[in-house]
Chain length 393, copies 2
């Protein structure tokens, strides 16, 4: 009666969202404080004070026309502010016309995929990867192909070469990575670019790198995120302010198309057309104005570091095996039993909500978000100790 | 190199948007006041005072977590407020769970089409129709079929019967209509429902009516808009606050699925899944809160009426032929020459920007928006007189 593909897909919907809803159910039974919900990357932090001030300034402004349609690509002033922030962050000059404001990274990814893929084209991701990519690719009539990572969660280039075909049209990378927290260093990106060049040459095709970077500003211990424009021939940055400004409900981000991509202007026009005709029309006006004023602000990363350290150190003490995350706000933990679903269920008995690794293409692991409050992490520690004792004697 | 279908479609992109950009170009040359831009439905009016106050209250609020993710369907409180407003407006009880907040009507339509269509299913619209429907249907892998209207711009039921096939899955209606301003009366809707039943019976199919109602609150001369839930077996309302609250840049609206649709709950789950996986994730949080407080507010319709009357009366005096609009903020004017493109070009010589009827499936007409300022309309009148003299001696 309805769309068949989606009806079938409903059941294998989001583990993360399912856990989020489960969390709400448990909180209603046991009380908010007695449920340790590490499931969804829904930052507990408030937006930075600059963002709150921008919002107030806009709400108090007598300026007319602030809520009208603008060009589908967004306000020129906002796009200029974003281009300037890319220059500041990466020392890379990008014309503001190559920036399209989008309703978050999810919208940015979908718009871009819809713009570059033809039906049955393939998109490669590396394990572990954010499961939603599969749905964006599906809706864009493409096919997701999963390449392996090595034991440090870095892209396995040999696996990439085996996965790539004449239909490969894009590679999505996500660094700092959700869920592993690793940052791909420049050498790795350059190697990947070299591999992409070989595939392009072999099949006489074009392969775009979509770099999904919502965590680029949430990095620890002096780690830095390389500029993909400097590493790839055909990179498109998809970004979101959901994490860096703690605004996930507001849906704001951007697409930045490197001007050295051949026919970049045509690609931009297609992306703008798709922004309109996929029903986004434009990124929300009011939040675009906030971004114009505050896109260089960010949440308190030191605060995230304290949370990471508290949870990471305790988990390690308890005997869990984890690669220490350099960025983002997730721990990707080796499940103490082979079937991580069993571990997820066991954790639920302690009111600890975590997400199975199979949701990220890696069974045998689980993901925990440390974007919950410091207090929540602190009060979860005795429960984590008890949970650990079920496995580590 | 990019998506072929879209690359081909770029050139036949939006007449309306093209005119909007042309308007910006002309304004830069001749000055804002000397260009009479009747092209895009971008309300010049400011949002009602209630909306501005809600926004200020929210910006000043110390409440925490206002910008976080919520359920993909939107805030429960906002959905309840919308259900209540439907009850108030239409005296129809709809459970709040049947409301999904969407990023405007464009998003609501695309999400719904993606939820009900299977590839190559057909969607029927009646002339004249909003051209964007064609793109939403295309992106949902469906085919748009256009049925005729009668000389009053009412749906031609015989034409509908000839257009419907075993692949017909949906009918989009838009009343008050953009561009004609007509409201389909209850008898017409009931007749259409009867025709739909016949087609469903003939082919043993299900056909949904998507009622796109952004202008439902902008009606003149005591006209009323019938409740589609009372007229159709399987109706879904797609609404937007872009026009009623003059917030088009903010992207906020909703999908309301009639609970008497068989398997309505499954359909809602599919729509929620698609809201997430088409990259919307959720309608913008902040504006959802504004809607929760102000969804019963509306812009000053009397003000629109004054603008309508000023422009309509003058055009009629000049000799143009127009059906007086009962709602929305457009005049759909019979072109004084057969090829309305010629008329559009001639009007541009007077710095008058209008949109050709072929953009709405009806060559031989043009559309003018009277949501521009009263002053703009007033100062355009001498130019309109001059333009008219080119055709009516």
């Amino acid at each position: 009666m309805f769309n068949k593909k989606i009806t079938e897909n409903l059941s294998k919907s989001s583990f993360i969202r399912a856990m989020f809803e489960e969390g709400n159910r448990l909180k209603a039974i046991y009380g908010e404080k007695n449920v340790y919900d590490f499931s969804i990357g829904n930052p507990e932090m408030e937006p930075p004070v600059e963002v709150k001030q921008s919002l107030l300034d806009i709400a108090m402004s007598k300026e007319e026309g602030m809520h009208k349609y603008m060009s589908n690509a967004g306000y020129e002033q906002t796009r200029k502010a974003v281009a300037k922030s890319i220059k500041n962050d990466y020392d890379y000059d990008i014309p503001y016309k190559n920036i399209i404001m989008s309703a978050g990274a999810a919208a940015g990814l979908f718009v871009t995929l819809k713009s570059i893929l033809n039906p049955d084209d393939e998109v490669i991701v590396f394990k572990p990867y954010f499961a939603e990519y599969g749905f964006y690719v599906m809706h864009a009539q493409g096919n997701l192909k999963v390449a392996d990572c090595d034991e440090s969660f870095m892209p396995d280039i040999d696996s990439f070469m085996r996965t790539a075909t004449s239909r490969t049209k894009a590679v999505i990378i996500n660094t700092p990575n959700n869920p592993s927290g690793v940052i791909y260093p420049k050498e790795v990106l350059l190697k990947l670019n070299e591999a992409i060049r070989q595939v392009e040459k072999k099949y006489n095709t074009d392969i775009f790198v979509l770099s999904d970077e919502p965590y680029a500003k949430i990095v620890f211990d002096d780690a830095t995120v390389p500029c993909v424009f400097k590493c790839f021939d055909k990179a498109i940055i998809i970004n979101s302010y959901s994490k860096s400004l703690a605004l996930p409900g507001e849906r704001i981000g951007y697409i930045a198309v490197d001007h050295k991509i051949p026919n970049a202007e045509l690609l931009l026009n297609i992306c703008i057309f798709n922004t309109r005709t996929l029903g986004y029309v434009n990124a929300p006006a009011l939040i675009q104005r906030v971004i114009q004023q505050s896109c260089e602000a960010k949440v308190d990363v030191e605060d995230y570091k304290r949370r990471r350290d508290l949870l990471y150190n305790h988990m390690i003490e308890c005997g869990f095996s984890i690669k220490k995350p350099q960025g983002a706000f997730y721990l990707f933990v080796k499940s103490p039993v082979e079937d991580e679903m069993e571990f997820v269920e066991k954790a639920k008995e302690y009111n600890i909500l975590i997400v199975p690794g199979r949701g990220f293409g890696m069974p045998g692991y689980i993901r925990m978000c440390f974007c919950v409050s410091y207090e929540t992490i602190k009060s979860s520690l005795p429960k984590i100790t008890q949970l650990a004792k079920e496995y580590f004697k």
